[in-house]
């Protein structure tokens, strides 16, 4: 951590502080990756219903063309990320193991924009802070929906729904999430340094759409350059930049709301039930681009890092590129690479194949080496209670694990299994190395039945 890190004490209760390991990719500026020979655009990249393909094989598409349209209220359309020719529909496996239909596009040799020009097109140029009143809340929501915006922090919840709070729950605060508490990941950090203006413009637009009185950007103190960059850009606006004590899982929206506003989101409810809307910094920037320029979400910044990758980097990636393409761009895997994780090491999913496409929710690819991966052998639970001490949701993970193992749905419910956010703090500290998150997921299914 830098010596100029501001002294920040604000944070949520409990949680853990894993080794940050952000140094690997921390200083790599965002670079636009060359287009792969082929992209496969999954028709489900969000939480909600799968899209319907709107293109036919052999059809030519340009970047930004709709290739799948949302047919349900909770869904977001998907767009072509490259110029090319549509191929026959196929299936892909998402990082979470789900099989979904996808539109493959053979990428044309000449792209309208590539490299630095693409980067400049996405994040550069003027993103105004004034005169935003000409965008009506309804127009902002429509632009978000048309652009296929979803939460880029990982959960991929459609953004236009967040921006349309029901009347019974007035929104007073818009939080912009720049915590990036997962170890290794630095994409948001780089984005805040490189593109503070789109982030802030997006935050102000979201404020207009939700009617929030206050806008706060929460950043952890371990990103001093991002904090400086945002503060400088935010001068003269009403956006507050709040510094938080680094801790995991601060980027979880319930934890961020607790840390900044001391409010608890009721179990099973959404932030808007306590008058808050939370957007990731990347989502805010994409919202600005969608509203101000009418451009859809077709690229995203992805951190490729970890001890198992030769050249860690932060990349601007066309959605639908394969993980293999990213890894090859980063010099390939090292010999001791053990796991390829979509996301960070605390909550990410391991990939069984490198052909998995990058989706809107892919914040990073963490390649862990043998040395970095947990390895210790599992013993019986010694009931030390460390999992209870660190659980940010105030649950008793050991009992949830026990309930799942015993198939005891009643015990799982009595211990509020549904309130678990699966952050993994419990399993991280467990001396017995129990796979608590896996067991709790099982317990959730059990408790619903």
């Amino acid at each position: 951590m830098s010596i100029c890190a501001p002294a920040a004490r604000r944070t949520f209760a409990r949680g853990v502080h894993p080794r940050e390991c952000k140094g690997l990719a921390e200083n790599s500026q965002i670079e636009a990756i060359a287009s792969p020979p082929k992209v496969r655009i999954p028709l489900l990249q969000h939480l909600g219903a799968t899209c319907l393909a709107t293109v036919k094989p052999r059809q030519e598409v340009e970047p930004g063309d709709v290739v799948g349209e949302a047919t349900a209220p909770v869904a977001a359309p998907v767009h072509a990320s490259v110029r090319g020719k549509v191929e026959r529909a196929t299936m892909v496996t998402l990082p979470n193991g789900r099989h979904v239909p996808a539109v493959p596009i053979a990428v044309a040799d000449r792209q309208p924009l590539e490299g630095d020009a693409l980067l400049e097109d996405v994040y550069g140029g003027d993103y105004p802070f004034t005169g935003l009143s000409r965008y009506l809340p309804e127009a902002i929501r429509d632009a978000a929906r048309a652009a296929g915006l979803v939460g880029l922090g990982g959960a991929a919840f459609p953004t236009h729904i967040k921006l349309a709070p029901p009347e019974r729950t007035p929104i007073d605060t818009l939080l912009v999430n720049g915590c990036e508490c997962e170890p290794y990941l630095t994409a948001d950090d780089q984005l805040m340094q490189f593109a503070p203006r789109p982030i802030l413009a997006g935050a102000l637009l979201a404020q207009r759409a939700t009617g929030a009185g206050r806008v706060v950007v929460g950043v952890e103190a371990n990103k001093p350059r991002a904090i400086r960059s945002l503060r400088r850009a935010a001068e003269g606006t009403e956006v507050e930049v709040a510094v938080l004590k680094p801790k995991y899982p601060q980027g979880g929206e319930k934890q961020l709301i607790a840390a900044l506003l001391q409010r608890a989101v009721p179990t099973g409810k959404l932030p808007l039930d306590v008058g808050v809307v939370v957007l990731n910094v990347g989502t805010a920037a994409a919202l600005a681009r969608a509203v101000v320029r009418g451009r859809p979400l077709a690229h995203r910044v992805v951190t490729v890092s970890g001890g198992g990758i030769r050249r860690p980097a932060n990349l601007l990636v066309p959605l639908g590129s394969s993980v293999r393409h990213l890894i090859e761009h980063c010099g390939g895997l090292r010999d001791d690479a053990a796991r390829v994780v979509a996301g960070g090491p605390m909550m990410g999913f391991t990939l069984g194949t490198l052909d998995t496409p990058v989706t809107k929710g892919t914040s990073g690819i963490t390649v862990l080496s043998q040395r970095e991966v947990r390895h210790a052998a599992e013993t019986a639970c010694v009931r030390c209670g460390r999992c209870v001490e660190v659980c940010p949701m105030r649950l008793v993970p050991t009992k949830l694990g026990l309930a799942a193992r015993a198939g005891n749905a009643e015990l799982a419910r009595r211990h509020h299994v549904a309130a678990c956010i699966e952050c993994g703090c419990c399993a991280y500290v467990c001396p017995a190395q129990l796979p608590l998150v896996q067991l709790i997921r099982l317990g959730k299914v059990l408790a619903r039945s």
Partner: protein, 327 residues
């Protein structure tokens, strides 16, 4: 030249993919052994070979019993986690230094066999194994483990000819007058090898709490409630020992930091741990003052062990955001 991304075998596993460094069951047990070093040191200084033999016999007997039990249950041998060695050391330190070898062996067999293996081994036992073993021999060999077991008048070591500070026969104590607190604190008085020096116990105990290998709430609850109880009983004239005397004598600190804190047999939730410790403190004082036994920690721990499932159930925390709304 990009390396082939196909070849290294990539694993698939549930998150989280990283773990806290140096966090393992084995490490917790090693912490207990480290924390016991000052206590062992004092024990060896005061009781010489008596302490070495007693602890050695118990550790070896515990390990041997575990081996037999694992073989009998057709389970892989797991001495490496260190939990059995910890049971042995604690048992050895809690028995009278003069108890004959077969008492140590019997106590160990009972501790590991009856206290642990029959419940399913590490993590599944309800009662503190060392205390199960000790209770067994205490009830079976009342003479050797009673007050007389600590005094050998013909011993060459002077300390061993003195009565223990908590001896039941009140007239003995009355005749001596109440000891000053300092010798109890430093610990060159007679007693079980593990309980003589409050300062050594405090040192090791604080290390354990600092390392989080013991839950601080348990000793905190026990010492606080034990002190309050002792104060009340003293004020009411029910005991002739002042409260601090009760704290520094017998196995009170040993129990607070090393016996009650056995994670397997104590609650997992902070409030439960406080209540558990407080319960042991109160029971210890009740047994010391009102029963025929001079010492109460062992029975107090075993009784509270039985209450742990209930405490865990009573103290289920309210999740952040409240309980799940009824559908």
């Amino acid at each position: 030249m990009p390396a082939s991304p196909v070849l290294p075998l990539i694993e698939v596993a549930p998150s989280p993919h990283v773990a806290e460094a140096d966090s393992s069951t084995r490490r917790m047990m090693i912490d207990v052994l480290i924390a016991l070093l000052p206590v062992l040191g004092i024990a060896v200084v005061v009781f010489r070979w008596f302490a070495v033999v007693q602890v050695g016999v118990c550790v070896l007997a515990c390990l041997a019993t575990e081996m037999v039990c694992c073989r009998a249950r057709a389970k892989p041998l797991s001495l490496a986690d260190g939990s059995v060695a910890v049971t042995g050391v604690i048992l050895g330190l809690s028995l009278p230094w003069a108890a004959p070898w077969y008492i140590g062996v019997l106590a160990s067999v009972m501790a590991v066999g009856l206290g642990k293996a029959v419940f399913g081994g590490l993590g599944y036992n309800i009662f503190n194994p060392a205390m199960v073993g000790r209770a067994f021999v205490m009830l079976s060999f009342a003479r050797e483990l009673g007050a007389a077991g600590y005094v050998v008048l013909e011993s060459s070591l002077e300390v061993l000819t003195e009565p223990t500070p908590l001896m039941a026969a009140e007239e003995v104590t009355r005749a001596m007058g109440v000891e000053g607190l300092w010798p109890l604190f430093v610990g060159h008085l007679n007693g079980s090898p593990g309980e003589t020096s409050a300062v050594a116990l405090l040192l090791g105990g604080l290390y354990l709490c600092f390392r989080r290998s013991a839950a601080w709430a348990i000793p905190a609850g026990m010492i606080l409630s034990g002190y309050v109880c002792a104060e009340v009983f003293y004020a009411a004239g029910l005991t002739m020992f002042p409260p601090l005397y009760h704290m520094f004598t017998g196995s009170f600190f040993f129990g607070a930091f090393f016996i009650a804190t056995d994670p397997v047999t104590s609650p997992v939730i902070r409030r439960g741990q406080l209540a558990f410790g407080a319960g042991i403190g109160v029971l210890t004082m009740l047994i010391r003052v009102f029963s025929g036994y001079p010492e109460g920690v062992m029975f107090a721990v075993l009784l509270m062990n039985a209450a742990v499932p209930l405490l865990n159930r009573w103290t289920i925390p309210r999740p952040m955001g409240g309980p799940v709304a009824a559908p």
